[in-house]
Symmetry: C2
Subunit: 426 residues, 2 copies
């Protein structure tokens, strides 16, 4: 089959590689640099090796005319949120218009982009109809198969997971099922697009709420002077407890998808109070970490304006270079307000991208040793940060005031007391 | 060892039976009828058989003087909430005073009752000190081991689970560990009472929040005309999704414990918004079910004042007789306001207890066949209710207007459409 993939990012690239074993693949992106990189086998996201990218002849292109004459079109463009936390459907609109202008009769279009229930039928399909002058379910067919890409996870890859495919009529559904069955371990069908859209958006919403709960508990246990991580570890010995850890919730999925669902709810005059309450807690955590740092500095009589703070990690998640929607920036901005001197260390992220997106400088972790600090904030659990605590011991200005903020609850408080840190965990 | 257990309920009885294999057990309760029943081997809660109860000679008693001269005292009294959703510590107070008046030097007191972090040290121990005139950690010792009884669950029994034990000093902790190691599969120690108290109360809080989330989603998907159970089934194919179902949250644990935690939080001027938001949603579900029933009756032009409604189930949970804090009463009261005629069927609960606690009549399910209905509300999934839907088909007044409310999402919508119900699921 001739298949075109629109969007060569975290979702599109693995899909293109998997499908290229059985089909002729054109992989399109508007980002010329990304296409140039992929043509030479380089994936800035570290998801795929050169040999994987170049093994089968995927036709990487930024030329939309190369999209003509395909049979299946799979849309994997990002669906971010605006500054006001509303769905930004610009890329989904552009992709739908592009497909509308490109397809011929009998084409199948599959959306993989996460969105709110109803978006495909109410927003995307009308655009395709308008620009193709063809009729949905008569001249062309549409399905929805939510992406389940988990960056940094080598176990739950496209090949190893169950993939949902949804369509509003049985014959389209069967075609989608066959297509994905060839590349995924198993396929689960839903007999409407809406059900598939809903399933995806609630997965990340559930995760968001569960992290929000442990964040709320963490804030409470701070006040009660009870070590949160020991409570969670104990609770996790119950057969049906879900072991989440407190922390920042960034990235392009968990911190975004609940707003898509809320948007649709509010359209229907339904206020999803719990979901939004969870969002508020998780959005507050960067500020919370900064405030706790400042209060520890003050308690230890360290002058804020001459204080030196190291932030370890800048990506939104452990061991991956993705900086989209990272909440470390909240910690940084909040500490900046108090005129503290901050250095951020992260060897995995692209320093150029950080500069471009956030206008701040990130250092390699090997440079950490060059300075001395009043406070160290372990914000992301990259492997290279998780050395013995005795490593950090050496790099404090004052040996009696070693403030260490363990955002991801990596260490048990017992070890820390032993090491005499002024210690804080969420 | 001579061990006294204060409270012979859901928690105390299994504990007494398990410990009686190794120790001399006195099991005390203020409820004379309960003690009389247990002496004859009858457990109204259906947790234990006559032979289990009578196998070892447990000394069941309502005479507090029989509590003298024991070494270990385990308190398993209920910790409910008041009408205003505040902790009702009356029974914990009475038990602590009783123990205070009873113990001698070197006694160990273990609390199993669920409570808020700090309660044992701030509320219970001072009472014991006052009434015993002995000093904590000098003359007597206290530990906390949260109960994890799950009524109706034959897998996660006391013998099969990991039990948390917590104490503030290593020697008491070791004694608790040894004691529980003899009866539980494994023991997890925490080196403070507070950590153990916190672990217990967050377990049920997490469950409450997760059910609240699917309830909120269910309400939303109702508005969007998307079948909730099919969305949840699809989402559950993701490796890290937790499959909860919408429904009523009653009973003495999940619907109570979050209020204990909130109480402590509010004492510390911390408002646990997410937890309380979850509680509000779950508290609203009985009314929601009733309103949906009424709106379906109206839509089908059935006069409310002559309408006949059957509610299937009255206990707070499937296949157990426990009626404490059942939310079915919310459905009943809400429907009563509209002058509908309601019959409740439940063969498992004690009709006498229901009459006593709620002043309403419950019928045996075998009497269901004697009447015809406009609407059937399947509120609890007792096994005997989960027959083929065709069973209910026969008992409607009007064959064209068969309203069926599936509170626990037992049936897939496909089957229901086929059967031509006017159907509603959360």
């Amino acid at each position: 089959m001739k298949i075109a993939i629109i969007g060569a990012g975290y979702v599109g690239l693995p899909l293109a590689i998997a499908l290229s074993n059985f089909h002729t693949i054109t992989c399109y992106d508007i980002d010329k640099k990304r296409i140039k990189n992929l043509k030479s086998g380089f994936d800035i996201n570290n998801q795929h090796s050169k040999s994987e990218i170049l093994k089968k002849k995927i036709n990487f292109t930024d030329d939309k005319y190369r999209l003509l004459n395909n049979y299946v079109y799979i849309i994997t463009v990002p669906t971010p949120i605006s500054d006001r936390k509303k769905p930004n459907l610009n890329m989904l609109r552009d992709a739908s218009i592009l497909v509308g202008k490109t397809i011929k009769k009998k084409s199948i279009i599959i959306y993989e982009s996460t969105t709110f229930p109803g978006c495909t039928e109410e927003f995307c399909i009308p655009l395709i109809e308008k620009f193709s002058k063809l009729k949905f379910n008569k001249d062309f067919y549409v399905g929805y198969s939510p992406e389940r890409v988990n960056p940094g996870d080598n176990v739950n890859t496209l090949e190893n997971i169950t993939k949902i495919v949804g369509a509003n009529n049985p014959s389209t559904l069967l075609k989608l099922k066959k297509l994905y069955k060839s590349i995924c371990k198993s396929v689960y069908t839903t007999n409407s697009i809406k059900i598939a859209e809903s399933a995806k958006v609630i997965e990340n919403t559930q995760r968001d709420i569960n992290i929000a709960l442990v964040n709320e508990l963490g804030k409470l246990f701070n006040k009660l002077d009870i070590p949160t991580n020991e409570v969670l570890k104990a609770a996790a010995t119950k057969w049906n407890f879900h072991y989440y850890k407190p922390g920042l919730v960034g990235g392009h999925c968990i911190s975004v998808d609940p707003y898509y669902l809320s948007y649709k709810a509010q359209q229907k005059k339904y206020s999803p109070k719990l979901i939004l309450s969870g969002r508020r807690i998780n959005e507050s955590m960067g500020k919370h970490v900064a405030q706790k740092t400042i209060s520890l500095l003050r308690k230890n009589k360290i002058k804020l304006s001459t204080s030196k703070i190291a932030i370890l990690g800048f990506s939104f998640k452990d061991n991956i270079p993705d900086i989209r929607n990272t909440k470390i920036i909240q910690i940084f901005k909040e500490l900046k307000k108090k005129n503290t001197q901050i250095k951020i260390f992260d060897s995995i992220v692209s320093k150029i991208e950080v500069k471009k997106l956030y206008n701040i400088i990130v250092y390699d972790f090997k440079d950490f040793k060059k300075f001395k600090y009043d406070a160290v904030i372990l914000a992301v659990s990259h492997k290279e940060f998780l050395r013995k605590l005795t490593f950090y011991n050496k790099y404090y200005k004052d040996k009696k005031k070693k403030i260490f903020i363990d955002v991801k609850n990596n260490y048990s408080s017992y070890n820390l007391i032993k090491n005499n840190f002024k210690y804080f965990q969420i």
